[in-house]
Symmetry: C2
Subunit: 453 residues, 2 copies
């Protein structure tokens, strides 16, 4: 614990140049572009550092890079992914998405935040440790996937086939991680589940003249009516059987909400809104709803004539809605489609087709796990302030497959900050957070290996 | 009444060749294509026949061709339009839309049914009468507009400025007209009103991650909820104040429904449906709802991510619906937008923008008018069977501006048949109906001029 990591400052240029090499390589899982090349580069880097690496595949999956290194009483699992989101409209970028650039202390590039920055920073920390202090004091298992941005469709199968390789890990560092607005390290105890569905309504085989609306049903109205039964105007999910499964927060969770920093005005400003749902103004109520209520959201809806200002009088022959439900414990993502089917059937909407596209389970860390407490203490030591602990992320990810199902507690450490613009143009991290993350990571390795703790 | 029109058969080639000339000229009001040329051609033909023609314009309108010819105790107003719908996807046409072709006794071309066929047939009948029998026994006022396919946006203004030119007409022949499936002449006593609106919902200035659905309202849900208050699942319009204004049918109208021929199975087949609204199976109930209930229909709806099978988890920043309300007496089309505004405001949907694109009043013929009875008798004489009289068209048109507001009764006679595919690919009429319409038109002129009747 007495080690001084200040000299990693000298390696800054070398570390960033190495990061840039990976940022320059597009690795788009959605388009299968550069995936195999990126998997190979990650594998080579890990081997060079000293990992014993396996390339795992299940079914038609892209390669998972799985590495093991070191030994000790504690086993740390690290999860990252090497794929990135598409750049989107390049005109909205101030510098080219795959030509990384440092401006005003920020590194701009697609994937730098999500999550090549964290991937490289963590590997560089491990290499630095080995080069400067000899063997690792802990065992590290490193899992890097290439399908996170397309919903980790094969992670369930991977965990079934190869979960024995990591299921005994003592704790896990998640892909994301960094600091909040005040500079405190931010960590989350879970991720919401998500079920993504397409609802499709169709009647007949061609559009009808709208003068016939007095004779024939409209598939658009059927869809609107069916949707309307799924959610209350206050935002509560009304699917039959779901509310009974929603658990009230525990005392400890309510206390975490009270303790959480959350700037209402800054959140409204950054999201371009005037008010929160139901015009709620109380921070604790807002966060309680956010962490403990499932949501049913319409990601998109379409049907019929869609030209602003134009005139066409038809009963469209079909309409579609894409909805996603974000789930909290103990809701089961894989049962949602069936529950909606039964809910709609009971109300006579047997004509509405329900198609499941994604079902990712809720992920949750056991808050009583002793390694979780230790990780939070190490974060506090590394950053000099108490970590900002959030009950759950608003987002979803393969948290359950990697960690929850094996009761591995999860924490976060990394190079991110709130305005990192993941998935958006001008994605970026700050150089200072990258440097801070590197030294914090070294402290974590060191601290977990301290058998006197 | 003893005249024999059989010799018009000899003129068939000449008549069709003349019709083809007009069918070859595209006259698309929606794109202002060929409009002035077509107006000029119609004007020249009418002058050649002997009409005293004026070209009328109001504001930025396309030209209205207004002609007067003949004298007598009876004044007959005829309304047609010289504009046509766009051809749409030409690949769906078996012959080119603006290259008329006769196949198996049908004439195929864009606009042949709607309504250049009726326009030419009527003018040819008038010319034939003059050439074979001398002066007309009645006065004919002929009004041809060029904006019917874009909702007759200037007819209200035209009627206000020039209505004195035709307001004293005794009866009016509407643009459409022809026979039903059994070959009986079909006429209608009115047209529904229509109000066409755009409802727009917007929150913030960018899409949000759907993980924030537990914090922020969705404009798509707002739109879905607002729409859902406008119509019952049974298809009844629920806008505040509207149901009180719906008149029950009169005894005479109920009798007309009972008398009306309407083949349920054939209608389902041609519309590609398995059932009528609310699974109604009784013909009289179906027609009663059709003629006497207003409708609220969604012509189109869109917002957010609209890619079938794709995954994108967002709260879209906006959503839009295009709705049309078909109105029955005594609903006022111009008040509907305001009623919806008040209805939505009362329910807290002040954020939903309501924009009126069209408001066309209900058109209705006074069933007790003696000229109406006479016109139906003449139709029966011309076709040898009782006319098929419908309470109202399911569609809408400038019926009120042309006729109802001046208490001019309306009837229909023409070259159409049910499968004419107006507004669709392969629009067509049958040569035999064109010929029959010509002789029937001659009989009408003759009959209305018979002072002994």
């Amino acid at each position: 614990m007495s080690k001084n990591y200040n000299d990693i400052q000298k390696l800054q240029d070398k570390h960033l140049e190495e990061l840039f090499k990976y940022l320059r390589m597009p690795s788009l899982s959605s388009e299968n572009l550069g995936i195999e090349e990126m998997a190979k580069s990650v594998k080579e880097l890990m081997e060079e550092i000293g990992f014993k690496v396996q390339e795992l595949r299940v079914g038609e999956s892209y390669p998972y890079i799985f590495g093991e290194l070191g030994s000790g009483d504690v086993t740390l699992l690290i999860y990252n992914h090497y794929d990135v989101q598409p750049a989107g409209d390049e005109k909205l970028w101030e510098s080219k998405p795959f030509e990384p650039e440092v401006r005003d202390g920020h590194i701009y590039a697609r994937g730098v935040a999500d999550n090549k920055g964290n991937l490289l920073m963590r590997l560089q920390a491990i290499r630095y440790y080995l080069e400067n202090y000899g063997d690792l004091p802990i065992r590290i298992i490193y899992l890097v996937e290439g399908e996170e941005e397309i919903g980790s469709p094969n992670l369930d199968a991977l965990a079934k086939a190869y979960g024995h390789l990591w299921k005994d890990a003592d704790l896990c560092i998640w892909e994301t991680g960094g600091v909040n607005e005040e500079g405190s390290p931010h960590t989350e105890l879970g991720m919401k589940g998500v079920t993504y569905l397409e609802l499709h309504s169709k009647l007949g085989d061609h559009d009808l003249h709208s003068g016939e609306a007095s004779m024939f049903e409209s598939p658009v109205w059927r869809l609107v009516q069916a949707l309307n039964t799924l959610r209350s105007p206050e935002g509560k999910v009304l699917i039959d059987g779901i509310r009974e499964q929603i658990k009230p927060p525990a005392e400890r969770e309510l206390q975490m909400i009270k303790d959480q920093m959350f700037d209402l005005q800054e959140t409204l400003r950054s999201e371009g809104r005037d008010s929160f749902l139901n015009n709620e103004k109380d921070k604790d109520n807002i966060l309680k709803f956010h962490y403990f209520e499932p949501t049913c959201n319409i990601c998109g809806i379409w049907g019929g004539f869609m030209e602003p200002g134009g005139i066409k009088t038809i009963i469209p022959m079909e309409a579609t809605a894409k909805i996603d439900l974000r789930l909290v414990a103990d809701l089961d993502a894989s049962q949602i489609a069936g529950m909606i089917r039964a809910h709609l059937d009971k109300r006579g909407f047997t004509d509405i087709e329900v198609k499941e596209l994604i079902a990712l389970p809720v992920g949750k860390t056991d808050v009583n796990n002793r390694f979780l407490e230790r990780s939070h203490m190490l974060l506090e030591e590394a950053y000099g302030v108490k970590p900002d602990v959030t009950v759950t992320s608003g987002g979803s990810g393969p948290f359950y497959y990697i960690a929850s199902q094996f009761n591995i507690p999860v924490f976060h450490i990394g190079a991110l900050y709130p305005a990192n613009r993941s998935h958006a143009p001008n994605e970026n991290i700050r150089v200072k957070d990258y440097q801070k993350g590197l030294s914090a990571m070294l402290h974590i390795i060191d601290g977990l290996g301290d058998t006197s703790a």
